[in-house]
């Protein structure tokens, strides 16, 4: 299953990347995917304080990722 991962704020600094193409071996929920990232991307250095948006909308933990989703990693926002 192919997805595009977008990283913002501190997460793009940690990952040294704004956008990553990923192939997942199985379908995952949002919360599974967060665990997967933290386990597989050592550059995250255990940083887990972020939300997930799928296709430009916040996604709760139980939502499932789908083929071709654009999955954004959203650290705490600080606009305004």
């Amino acid at each position: 299953m192919n997805i595009t991962v977008l990283a913002f704020g501190i997460l793009s600094d940690l990952l040294e990347n704004d956008s990553i193409q990923l192939t997942l071996e199985k379908q995952m929920s949002v919360s599974d995917f967060k665990q997967y990232l933290i386990k597989n991307f050592s550059k995250l250095n255990g940083y887990s304080n972020f939300s997930i948006a799928i296709n430009e909308a916040y996604a709760s933990d139980d939502i499932l990722l789908n083929e071709n989703d654009v999955v954004a990693l959203i650290p705490p926002v600080s606009g305004g």
């Binding site: 913002f8 704020g9 948006a53 430009e56 650290p75 705490p76 926002v77 600080s78 606009g79 305004g80």
Partner: protein
């Protein structure tokens, strides 16, 4: 975009008069405006400048949602929510929210609701640059 909502995310300087002109209306008795400005200090440390970045298409959607919720929750006529991105210096304006209404209480309530919600939900991030380095605001590992 509906006639009573103006949303903007831009790397150009924000203009108070643009937001005011959008919301003013012959049926309105009051306009409440909030202007965010860049402070020269954070927790006692001198700020040199700020850098704002956004997940732009989602930020626009979330700002539009705030505007629609404000129109639904309060008796207001029009609302403008404009946010700047890129490098900003002290006294520059990251955000302007303007709300017009027949009666002033609703304009105040809606304006405050909009800025409070923007700071919680809109995917925009602020990096503060100090003499000694830089920090992503709110992002403590």
């Amino acid at each position: 975009m509906s006639d009573n909502i103006s949303i903007k995310v831009t790397s150009c300087p924000l203009k108070l008069e643009d937001c005011y002109a959008f919301v003013e209306d012959p049926s309105c008795g009051g306009i409440s405006v909030f202007v965010g400005t860049v402070r020269n200090q954070t927790k006692g440390k001198d700020v040199k400048r700020l850098d704002f970045s956004a997940y732009e298409p989602m930020a626009i959607k979330e700002m539009k949602k705030i505007a629609e919720e404000s129109l639904a929750k309060f008796e207001i006529s029009k609302i403008a929510i404009h946010h700047a991105i890129g490098k900003l210096s002290i006294k520059d304006i990251p955000v302007i929210i303007a709300v017009s209404s027949a009666h002033r209480k609703d304009a105040f309530r809606a304006c405050e609701y909009a800025i409070d919600t923007l700071k919680e939900t809109v995917p925009i991030w602020k990096k503060e640059h100090f003499e000694s380095g830089e920090v992503w605001v709110n992002s403590h590992p």
